[in-house]
Subunit: 193 residues, 2 copies
Amino acid sequence: MAPSPPAPARRADAQRNIDAILDAAVESFARRPDTTLAEIAKAAGVGRVTLYGHFASRADLVDAAMARVLEHGDAVLEPLELDGDPAEALERLIATSWQLIHQSRSLLVAAQAELSSARIRDLHAGPAARAERLLARGQSEGVFRSDLPTSWLVATLHNVLHGAGDEINAGRLKPEDAARTVSLTILAAFAAR
Amino acid sequence: MAPSPPAPARRADAQRNIDAILDAAVESFARRPDTTLAEIAKAAGVGRVTLYGHFASRADLVDAAMARVLEHGDAVLEPLELDGDPAEALERLIATSWQLIHQSRSLLVAAQAELSSARIRDLHAGPAARAERLLARGQSEGVFRSDLPTSWLVATLHNVLHGAGDEINAGRLKPEDAARTVSLTILAAFAAR
């Protein structure tokens, strides 16, 4: 029997495998929400036993892939200029958020099948906090309505943005119209009277 | 071996069992979205083999329970007065729809776990058609905006109504505030400029 490599090397191997599996998962789910774990293991160049050793179920892997995509998304949103006029800033936030959602639309279908909507909201804590800061500022400056709680505005923004993905999947909305459609809806809904 | 009862009697038995299972499913899911099929079989007074004979999977049973609840809901919405001022009619539709959604909130959590969002939308075809007629009339009368397609308004109404359920589940919205919160959001979003 060959001697086991020392522990730090084994940990580095495990981390490389996890990274390869998550990269493959994000890419495979982006193509097809019903990708199997066997296909993801193959794309990652690892055995199924290795994959199941790191991710005990399909839900675990979808959860980790969503977390990775949202971490990437948060990094894309980070440099976005959200100062200045709150309504214009909200339009910029919607346009960029929509691009991110659109790229991950297929992964989101997998997530909706495997995770609760509460868990999906929890995974969005980063983008939700960003939206909440902007919406609260707009409320305090009198640009956005204050008769509804900020948390409700955050939830409505999330639901309307994701609803656009469902409408595209159903063939009722063109992808190129989505950001404008969401903006027109949200800005009217949130405007102070 | 006892002789089998004649076919019509067997069919009547089967229909009684299906009805008992669906009644038990609707009631059990209304209490807990994670109710097991074994518990539902017990509440229906049938064996697990009988239940699995009619509903091959948890998803099948959740789908049938949702269909039954939505059929009931459509009957509740049927007598609703949707003529007259479209904005007032929409407020009435929202208030009644919200009551129905709130009663089935726990079943909806089970449905979101078992069914695709496209399937959940399909199951809502009856209520969606009702909303669509009212929204299209309001658009043609110049009360609701016409710069967005009617299908988008229907989808937004669906998503915001169901989003209220998620916000209640998360403890961020009080049930008694939900219908008013949804109405304020939707009427502002849909108003003609």
